[in-house]
Symmetry: D2
Subunit: 345 residues, 4 copies
């Protein structure tokens, strides 16, 4: 019953197999190898609009590096107060950009055009304030909730009207595309997104993240930014081939669809229990549910693993994440444990 995170999962066998196949002979270093080049081309082909792709090793580096190309050091980055870049990256965005993060509130980790506009109105004092330069959203949000293509478009338009750029943290972008049953570009270039950080690690890879620039001018000196940040991998073929396998035959989509389906099943099982209280719309691969503390303790004792997102006196907010590796059996085992303890309670 592993619902701690989608990064506790192993790598998908197809991806590991591809790495093994790539492990033959010599290959030029620092991204000049054929696998990296193929990965970049496949990533660029994943979208309809013109785009430049760069591979890096972690999601934090992907976000911070993308942002560093989007804002001057005297800029401001507007984001949700619960955004990963604001709460879980130990200041990496400030470090890489030199800029200031400006946190905004919003339900389920989402920003709205009205909320952004309200915040921007406070930036009217010229050089005394940073220049709002980037609007950054996570799709899905850290609460697993989606922005539709129209919602992304509206925020992109708003950003551009204010001479800002739109960044999307897509650590779970595959889950968003799978959930919305849309073309990847509907949430990216076509929607006005300027830069997307696209995660494969949480969705079947070992360690593979990409920065994608739809505003291609941002890509021009990005190789130097990546090198300067210690993110240019010498044996890059092992990064590249992960993306090659991930994109081949839409493996990424298959894995994301599965993870989302498991979350739906898990959610259904929780909804069936009166004591549990779904806290957030279940739209991708994450379920947030309030559980009575006693029930929570009983589940943990039985071996259920998940993250306590928040704690109150009598209850805890559980975050349960499904991955490509989650099985129906695991979900049903959890449901059985749930039922048993609710009945007992």
């Amino acid at each position: 019953m592993h619902f701690l995170s989608d990064n506790t999962a192993a790598a998908h066998p197809d991806i590991l197999r591809a790495i093994t196949q790539a492990n033959a002979g010599h290959a030029p270093g620092y991204g000049a190898d054929g696998f990296t080049e193929e990965a970049e081309k496949l990533l660029e082909a994943m979208f309809d609009t013109d785009v430049r792709a760069f591979l890096v090793t972690t999601g934090t580096a992907a976000n911070a590096l993308a942002l560093s190309a989007m804002t001057p050091p005297y800029g401001g980055i507007l984001c949700h107060e619960e955004a990963h870049i604001n709460t879980d990256e130990c200041g990496a965005p400030e470090f890489f950009t030199g800029a200031k993060l400006i946190p905004l509130p919003g339900e389920h980790g989402k920003l709205t055009p009205a909320g952004v506009k309200r915040r921007l109105a406070a930036f009217a004092h010229g050089e005394h304030q940073v220049k709002p330069a980037v609007l950054s959203i996570s799709n899905p949000t850290e609460s697993g909730v989606l922005y539709t293509p129209e919602e992304v478009r509206a925020l992109a338009d708003l950003a551009h009207e204010h001479d800002m750029l739109l960044h999307v943290d897509g650590a779970r972008f595959a889950n968003a595309v799978a959930a919305l049953d849309c073309h990847p570009d509907d949430l990216a270039g076509r929607a006005g997104v300027d830069a997307l950080t696209l995660g494969a690690t949480k969705n079947g890879a070992l360690m593979a993240e990409a920065v994608l620039f739809f505003r291609t001018a941002l890509a021009v000196e990005f190789p130097r930014r990546r090198k300067r940040a210690g993110q240019l991998v010498s044996k890059s073929r092992y990064l590249g081939v992960q993306f090659v396998a991930w994109l081949r035959d839409d493996l990424w989509l298959e894995l994301a669809l599965h993870a989302n389906a498991m979350a739906r099943l898990l959610s259904a099982r929780l909804e069936a229990v009166e004591a549990a209280d779904i806290a957030t719309p279940v739209q991708t691969n994450m379920v947030f549910a309030w559980l009575p503390r006693k029930l929570h303790e009983a589940l943990v004792e039985e071996g259920a693993e998940y993250y306590c997102w928040r704690e109150e006196h009598e209850r805890v907010l559980a975050r349960l994440v499904c991955s490509w590796q989650t099985t129906e059996e695991e979900v049903e085992a959890f449901a059985t444990a749930l039922a048993r303890h609710v009945g007992a309670g």
Copy 2:
């Protein structure tokens, strides 16, 4: 005839096999998995003195992060003018530390106590100058030349007398230990080294580097530095297991001994040719040789791959690097080509 670099080699099969074996079931993220913990313990056991080990993905990140824990932002880092940190990391050390690099001359990439002392004498103007905080050397140097344990000790003592710390860039540390037939700690803790960046990538791994702090106080807040730099890997087991396999049964030593032996063979073959001129003592896995331009062009045409370190009108300085993957056949093929063209010339 692949002598371009030791990072064009593939990963050693044992390391890839270990990754495959690690790819089962769930594992805690961000370094709390068993493989990472075992890797850290094995790394710490590789040395006799007390040490703390941290895994990262690239050598540039390892160097820059290690340095960031060793100098205040108003500090100075003395290094050889040809040091990798000064010439090939696109300013990463300045970025991660905020400090100033102070390049020094020296034969074959080596610094001497006398040269360092002379440079330090110029730092006498208080707050107008940065505070010399770190002495950084590469062992072996970027020219493949060694510092003996005694030489490291002398520089460590000098650094400490001046309230500075000693950093060793050990991208090819295994080759140094293999060449000197000493205990790893003879070039590290026992020699007074405060921090070592230890590379496995060039010596058989896919992508695995470590930062080792012999001055353990430097390790206290290093986890936050690593995270802030985007170097905390979520599925860290795939980093950890590489080191586990690399250290098991001294695979690292076996591979380094082989690479060094291949370089010796290559050097012998070049020495036998009057037209070629060995430029630097061949002490590890690299050979630097001046070749007449015509000979160079003929070799390249035959498929020999190596790096032109410097070019003059009538000759080029070739850098030929051997790796764990270099075969005797490759070296002899190169020797044959050499002989043919010299004879023809």
Copy 3:
């Protein structure tokens, strides 16, 4: 009717006279002159506890530099969301420190121990989050409201319990001391403050700010930080002598008492008018009052100068600041204009 800010005022004649007297002969550069040394000593004598003083040219530099000595780059600085460091310094604190600002809400710009504790509780995820390192308050706040010695002490204790330091932005510190009729040290060293940025510019000087470290270890390498930030003044005597004159015969206190008294008078005149609505307790030299838009426009047309802190449809929040230069006549002229337009309204 100049109430725009206390930095639109001229310098006090005594301070200008002192500068003129200092303008004779040669003096050592970079702070080694007698005036700077006397200023440092007088500043240190202003407080009872052991303290180190450093002169700089602007309040933004004073804040950002003080903070840079108090937090590691992976640290967090908790402050009020309306703090000058968060809203009006164009990201200088992030630039100088590399750290992250963490804004908190609170009435009238004030933080409470309960509010700080609540925010700190969210920092429990180790290296994924910055390390809370500094608690920064403004005394008086940007709304002109005071922390009493006991309130400062409570926040200092809380900070120290959490291994944090307390910084006080004292751009208007003189006004606070004057208002509370206490010893300067009651709001500084004795209250547990670790660093204070003390402004003289708004209170009679031309351009003179100081950083004071009550935790003297913070001072050790501060000269290099100041130089590296471009804040070491070569003809420092002109900075030093301003503080000498400002501190001599408690000129600073006299000027601050006057400014506070003028604000009280202004407040009384506004309170007498039903249409005006005092928005914030008037405790120092600033008055915040809601004015009907029509009244506001009429006053501006008559030449009244003040800052519109916030605007609503039918009313504006006026910030009126008194300085050492504000005269009773000015206040009464404003009161007369007010009365006339209210009567007419």
Copy 4:
């Protein structure tokens, strides 16, 4: 006999008088006052080409801020190894820019097109190296030696051919213009200079430096850079009026001519003494002379003040700087002391 530096001099009475006159009534803060605006206009009128001027408080800040607008963080700044930005600013340029300083050798602190070209040739490894972005020279150099308009032009052309910008550290720019008897713009805009930091402090002001952008695009967001660096002065009128007085009736030129003349006289007196050895062409207001150690000690004992630039066993290299305040009497007193001790020796 004060020859320590031109910043040990007082401010010129005309400049102090102007400050006193400016000290009346209220003035808008942060550079919106009439004096600052007039200073900016006068500075812009000092040159023939289009230029934007910004006032700051120190030369180090002026240099570091100007450079920060000229290079991306992954850039390189080529400068002389003895340049003030490389040796005497405690890393401020690295701090403000994030970039890397690349020191070059050259006689008397001067760079030559050939030397710069040679160094640029080493930048051919793409993203592994910083991108050469700025060429920075000091005119006059730290050794008091001049670049002629033609020499500046040649370096500007070279920089521009390599997609770099030319920065001039003009801490003593007035002395250069006075010495070359040329129009200020001959050494600035007309010569292809992109940014000039112009110092008034060493030439009669209290504390007044300017950043001038001849490539006016660099000025667009400079106000935010200045504010973020803590260099936007609230009572800016006191900065502005210094420049107004300094530029009025060419006071700057008169003072610089005088300082240069005093250095020529001093040089002549030293040349007359066989024991002294002029080490550097005396072209502006500085004299470098080798003195036997005994003679040096005797002069110091008599009260002569100057800086020991370098020391050898039997002799010292004395740097003697003249300022607007240096009198013929002072120089002759020094000459007399010199003669006495040489005669005695």
